[in-house]
């Protein structure tokens, strides 16, 4: 697996497809912390939402770097499931690097109005990585399943991101969609806790929603493996 990760990483970097999403993210973070004296948790909430969008972009571009013959060879060389896991690992590792930049850049600049405590660190790493996982899920769903015709993959990813970010507004207007929308990543449910910038909000309810988000991710990844195998059969 290590060899395949190395292969994929080199191939992706040399394709230059990482530049647009990574540059977008870095610029966004620089602009976000242009002003000092900003709130800690809500700022990290914003950067994690941007990471969600950018990781979707990265995952989708990662799934489009090979032509058919190369993909066929890789299927034989490493197996279909390892191929998929390798792509996810690369997406996650890149998201991890962006997360570290996103967390430490404002600290280096001293952008926050308060002193950052260990709990802020823990929560910021958690929210960034969770949203990176959501991004990988959305990007993968749009790229590797047979539900979405190839020409609509980007459109479907944008649509899913829009729905997940405007979940509350949609449910308010169209309450009958409440349960149907549960199939999408629970982005808003988790991010809502970060907006007040108050650690007191992180109680039992936060952990319930977090557990749901993690269970959701595990189920979604398992379902994606099955859908991928079905598509590539």
């Amino acid at each position: 697996m290590q060899g395949f990760i190395k292969y994929q990483f080199k191939s992706y970097i040399r394709s230059f497809k990482i530049i647009p999403p990574a540059a977008t993210f870095l610029i966004w973070i620089v602009v976000l912390y242009h002003y000092s004296g900003v709130e800690i948790l809500s700022s990290y909430a914003v950067s994690s939402i941007v990471l969600y969008i950018v990781t979707t972009w990265i995952a989708m571009s990662l799934f489009s770097i090979e032509e058919e013959a190369e993909k066929n060879m890789l299927f034989v060389q490493v197996g279909k499931v390892n191929y998929l896991l390798g792509k996810w690992m690369i997406s996650f590792l890149i998201a991890l690097a962006l997360t570290l930049f996103s967390i430490f850049y404002p600290l280096l600049l001293g952008s926050f109005k308060e002193t950052v405590q260990p709990v802020h660190f823990g929560l910021s790493i958690y929210i960034h990585l969770l949203f990176a996982i959501f991004g990988i899920l959305v990007g993968s769903f749009s790229s590797i399943t047979s539900f979405i015709p190839k020409r609509y993959t980007w459109l479907s990813a944008v649509l899913i991101i829009a729905i997940t970010l405007s979940y509350e507004g949609i449910v308010e207007k169209l309450s009958f969609l409440k349960w149907l929308l549960l199939i999408f990543p629970p982005v808003v449910n988790v991010i809502n806790f970060f907006e007040p910038d108050d650690l007191n909000y992180f109680g039992k309810e936060f952990w319930i929603f977090s557990s749901f988000a993690i269970i959701y991710s595990i189920i979604a990844f398992s379902a994606l493996v099955k859908l991928f195998i079905k598509k590539e059969s």
Partner: protein, 281 residues
Amino acid sequence: MLNYLRSGGGSVGNVILEASDLKKEIDGKEILQHVSFQIEEHASIAIRGSNGSGKSTLLKLLAGIYDPTSGKLVRNAKRIGYVPEHFPENLRFKLKEYLTLVATFQGMSETDIEAELSEYIRLFGIEPFTNTPLKKCSKGTKQKVGILQALLIKPDILLLDEPLTGLDTSSQLNLMAMLEKLKTKMTIIFTTHEDLLVDNIADQIFYVKDGRVLVHTETKSPHLVIKVRFSNKSVLLRLQLNEMHIEEDIAIITVSKDKSDDLLRKLLNNNCSVLDVRERI
């Protein structure tokens, strides 16, 4: 229609591939159906058929790239090597770097990889291109890399999709010589339109006809393959030989056994040196 095919002739060896009533549909279109066969270890099988008949689909099924829509396919092999018809055009690696990376997929140590790679690179005659980006390599070199990546993993089954595509005559002969050597070490299955490859390598032929029916015929026929060095090409052309491949001053001629004595006499009388005469496999 069910065709039950057993490769390898008389005695029954270990079955390495077994297909039972395979069916494959792609986008709702039936490509293969009712396909059943057994392939024994160290068999060499040519898959033949017209364009679009389903040859490559069958090869991809055997490789595990595709899964059958229905039916059962058992692979008693630890490792399978697959060589696509067209080597990918956009690989972003240098030749040796690519092969080294592929070898690491199987957990080979760097020392083993280096030793093995050097041997193969020398054997395939691609030393001058080891540090050349694959995008800049010729079609023939890429084809060789395609075969090398499959051999590096030490496969029990080697699957090749139109392996002679894009190779010049010299490379074709080299590849055939190599496949002949490999025949004793692994099972080789290839799709091809080339008679030369079938004549020299295949024990058996699987015909994929109308994209649906798999037919099997023996390849063994009373033919001889004669290798001669000639000084005047027009002499050979005058003989009006049906199966002849010429590379520089060497010709490889396939002829039926009953005509071989007469042909050999004519070749010798016309100042050709007979280098090799052997039965077509």
